[in-house]
Amino acid sequence: MIRYYKSIMIILNRERDLMIRYTIRRLLMLIPILIAVSLVVYFIVDLAPGDVVDVIAPDDASPEDKELLREMMGLNDPFIIRYARYMQGLMRGDLGKSYVNNRDVFEVYFSRLPNTLLLALAGAFVAVLIAVPLGVVSAMHRGSWKDAISMIFGLLGLSMPNFWLGLLLIIFFSLKLGLFPSYGSEGWSSIVLPAITVGTAQAALVMRTTRSSMLEVVRQDYLRTARAKGVPERTVIYKHALRNALIPIVTVMGTQLGVALGGAVFTETVFAWPGVGRLVVDAINSRDIPMVTGCLILTTMLASFLILLVDIAYAFIDPRIKARYTK
């Protein structure tokens, strides 16, 4: 044993080094993407009419005064210089102040972010809870009424706008039955309805993925082998089949994280949930441009970052992907 120990450790170390190098390389590759993404968002929002001078200048200011003020504040500089200045501010955690209440954009954003992340995670939890069992049952009883019901659920979930689902949940569970509060974020019961709202749309997608991925796997020889050697059916399904069908499911869940950050806009509006989605909508409705720019850029960067993390996580989970990337 000791004779082999050294060589085993060398192999393991080499593998770990490769993984670390892979992770670092992916993180470095993220930098240009983040820059490009923020550039695109900054450019689009920059097209919006009106600027800070119209807001802060006194009403009796002449156009010449305003022009002078713009010159002094550097608003007449070329786009790329203003963008560079903005990104410098981002590095220091300074994205300007809100036009509306003069609060620091960076601070407000990060005070709201935990709520959105909590909601996204709770939604993902609901999605997995509903979708994976449904998908497995549907694949195992393909063509039966169980399959039909699951598929109908999947289609309805995909076709239902989730802000409407949220409103329906409010009508039935908080107004008619009085079980859960219809808005706000106090206590655990207030997250139930928003989490179901976020989770259902994802559940539909995850259910369809689970089903097709399971159908792919059940044809494999190793399942026949497992059955032949007398493994109980439950173990065959959950250990041998589901574990191998898991990668596409995790992929969908991962990409849904980014979607959930953007989609939070609707759920948070419906339930008055104090997250970043609600912040964006409020900022747009009050024409609060620094807040809009800050929220959009930070959320987009966060979404890209999350997607990358999920991507790196696969490499750790699935040896096949690891083999492909660590060359």
Binding site: L47, I170, L296
Partner: protein, 300 residues
Amino acid sequence: MPIIQNETDKKAVIKRYKRRSMWAEVWRNFKKSKGAMTGIIILIVVLSACTIGEFIYDYHEDIVKQSFDQRLLRPSWKHPFGTDQYGRDIFARILYGGRYSFSVGVVAVIISFSIGTTLGIVAGYYGGVIENIIMRITDVFASIPSVLLAIAITAAFGQSLLVLMFAVGVVGVPAFCRVARASVMTVVGQEYVEAAHAAGAKNWQVLIRHIVPNSMAPIIVQCTLRVAQAIITASGLSFLGLGVPTPSPEWGGMLSDGRAYIRDYSYMTMFPGLAIMITVLAINLIGDGLRDAMDPKLKR
């Protein structure tokens, strides 16, 4: 004695061995799917209801005119879906509002299709540096959450039907680009493409005659499913107050109106949402059916 003796025999042989075109084949498979046919029927019913609404109702009289003696009436024979806070008939508004959903859905998909597919085909066919540049730009746009991108665009260009179409269209470009590229890449390697090149066909001839027609199937499926997606996104933006400006009866906007009266007049939120869901469901059914019909291998 020859097997084919007369005209009737000849016709019978031709009929028996007649080659079915790809589209006939697709239609044959498509017809078999109950879901897809249900989808078609629902869609036809919804579309004709909206068309009939166009002739029955007058925009100024029935759709936007406020009559306060009629406000917040519950569903009845006279007003099947009830009336809203300004006394406008919700049934009439929903029928009229269909045009926004359908037009945004279709125009947005035309925008994403024409930009995305062109880029995808070029990337998949030429490869190399061009492909790299196109795909990296696509990656950047794809990593911006689509709702936020649409919100940024509407915030920048203001609120109107055209901006809404453009915003929802731009959001769909990366998906088309990726599907088209992947599809073209599977075709480029085929022998008949090599044969066409060997026979001296020019690049554009190969592209138009061989590559594009043979890589269309997944793109067409994508088109249908994206129309459904676009309708949801567009109504969502209207729900947030960023889509079709009031008082136009857009379904998402009507939902947002109903929200204020959800406690006592929940029917106001029921019907517009139902309209969105039924329409989107029908299109999704058709999309699923098309996918199965075009690629029997994928059918599960």
